[in-house]
Amino acid sequence: MSTETEARPADAAPDRPGAINAVPVRHPGRWVAIAVIVVLVAMLVHLLVTNKAFDWSFVFEAMNQQPVINGFLKGTLLVTVLSMVVGVGGGVVLAVMRLSDNPILSGVSWVFTWFFRSIPRYILLFTMGTLGILFPQGIAFGIPFDWKIIDWLGMSGDWRFFTLDANQVFTGLVAGVIGLGLSEAAYMAEIARAGIMSVDPGQAEAAEALGMSRGKVMRRVVLPQAMRVIVPPTGNETIAMLKDTSLLLAVPVIGELFYQLQSIGSTYYKTFPIAVAATLYYLAATSVLMVGQYFLERHFGRGFGNKAPRAARPAGAGGA
């Protein structure tokens, strides 16, 4: 061992090049940039603190009003969660249908995606709020075309089990969730399809060779791996959905964050602080979602390289 130490070139052999101790490249540009940014940040802070238009006490007071808080919790958070549940669930089902061997299922999925991707969300939500007009007698659940069949058989009465009032279904948050959920399902269908197609076909083959049924192959082997590809764009979609809940006004839903803030603003003739209050709410909610996405990515990234789960950070995870 001692001979090896002696033989180390840096110590023992002055005629051979040793450890490198070079002057690093200087970066004067970086110092200039830092100086510029420091000045700009100082100007921004000065603006935020001294400009009377911000009216911070009014901002926080407006944020703290019960209707605003309710609008945030129900109109923004709850609708986001429910719409994404409908959207992700529906999207995965649509993607599996689209990729199935059954041409009918595949076609239905294609038409659904075509239809709901074609309609702007604002107009879709407006339409959802007016759909009640189609069903003046309500939406009945029972045997289809029961009146015809009863007519043929020469009987009377009806074969309906219960009836919903269409004007109550297509109103408020329910209409909003249905509209946003269906629209989201169309987008999620494409994301889920991309995820499923990204999984090596050998995976499904190996699972099939073990005797697993088609459904099990999809649920146990393909989808968990597809999730790695599906989660980042779904995070994007969730954040977009969070912001699109402000479109609920088209239904119309008034128990919604921005509508409530605006009504306070118009009462007190203060518009700008209201915009600041809404921005703060959306910033906070998006930040929480990004943390959630980080943990989801870590969960579904397991097994893909030693470093993969740790490499994705919340900042990068937000997606471009």
């Binding site: 090596d200 050998g202 995976q203 083959e205 190996a206 699972a207 099939e208 060779a209 073990l210 005797g211 697993m212 049924s213 088609r214 099990k216 146990r220 082997v221 968990p224 791996q225 579904f300 397991r302 097994g303 893909f304 390289g305 030693n306």
Partner: protein, 258 residues
């Protein structure tokens, strides 16, 4: 009746006939090696046995059961996916590229099918999985993900995964072709042991020494037909057909002058 009984199997991909009437019988406990140049149809034939490919003509029986169809009074009825899945349970398959489930650990990979397909209890499945891991020499790596294992280790886990379903027949599709040369030995050693234990095996391979030492029958395929079949000492040691001779001499020269 032999365990595997294939008669006049044909298969085309888009008008390209890959199998032109393959006959093959494999008795219980036998090891059959399929040799041949790439494109000869040996992998396709292997995949036809457990129905990863559907055949266009001929019949394949495994353990007296017609694969993929029910024969009622001479008329064939295609089996449902569920019934095909049930037939596959009896046949283990090992792939060239391992195809381990990357999101599951070695142990979870092995436990998956017995739990999900046979509904075995967690305890039973785990106990057998640990025994199998021990048998392939990887008990200490049971909690490693496939990405943390070498190619040879992954393939040994893949063999254990197939064995966990307690199959009657094992199919190996070029199990060592994707491995670095120094990792080939450990996988072949596991396969040799499996053969000694009496497992019926069909192996597509380019490993001549394995075929010579372990196989009961060597089948040389070329252009979608069986050119020559018999004991290894005949087919490898003294090939009768010119195509077999050409293939073997090409293989030998590559080995000597890589």
């Amino acid at each position: 009746m032999p365990l595997v009984h294939a008669v006049n199997v044909t298969k085309s991909f888009h008008h390209n006939e890959v199998l032109k009437g393959i006959d093959l019988d494999v008795d219980r406990g036998q090891v059959v090696c399929l040799l041949g140049p790439s494109g000869s149809g040996k992998t396709t034939f292997l995949r036809c046995i457990n129905q990863l490919e559907t055949i266009d003509g001929g019949r394949i029986w495994v353990d007296d059961e017609l694969m993929g169809y029910a024969d009622r009074d001479g008329k064939l009825y295609r089996l449902k996916n569920k019934e095909i899945a049930a037939q596959r349970r009896e046949i283990g398959m090992v792939f060239q590229r391992f195809n381990l489930f990357p999101h599951k650990t070695a142990l979870e990979n092995i436990v998956e099918a017995p739990r999900q397909v046979k509904g075995e209890s967690k305890k039973t499945a785990r106990e057998r999985a640990m025994k199998l891991l021990d048998r392939v020499g990887l008990a200490d790596r049971c909690n490693a993900y496939p990405a943390q294992l070498s190619g040879g280790q992954q393939q040994r886990v893949a063999i254990a995964r197939a064995l966990a379903m307690q199959p009657k027949l094992m199919l190996f599709d070029e199990p060592t072709s994707a491995l670095d040369p120094e990792l080939v030995g450990e996988v072949l050693a596991v396969m040799r042991e499996l053969a000694l234990d009496g497992m019926t095996m069909i192996v597509v391979t380019h490993e001549m020494s394995f075929a010579r030492d372990v196989a009961d029958t060597v089948v040389f395929m070329d252009g979608g037909v069986v050119v020559e079949a018999g004991p290894p000492k005949d087919v490898i040691g003294n090939p009768q057909h010119s195509r077999t001779q050409a293939f073997l001499s090409r293989l030998r020269s590559e080995h000597e002058h890589p």
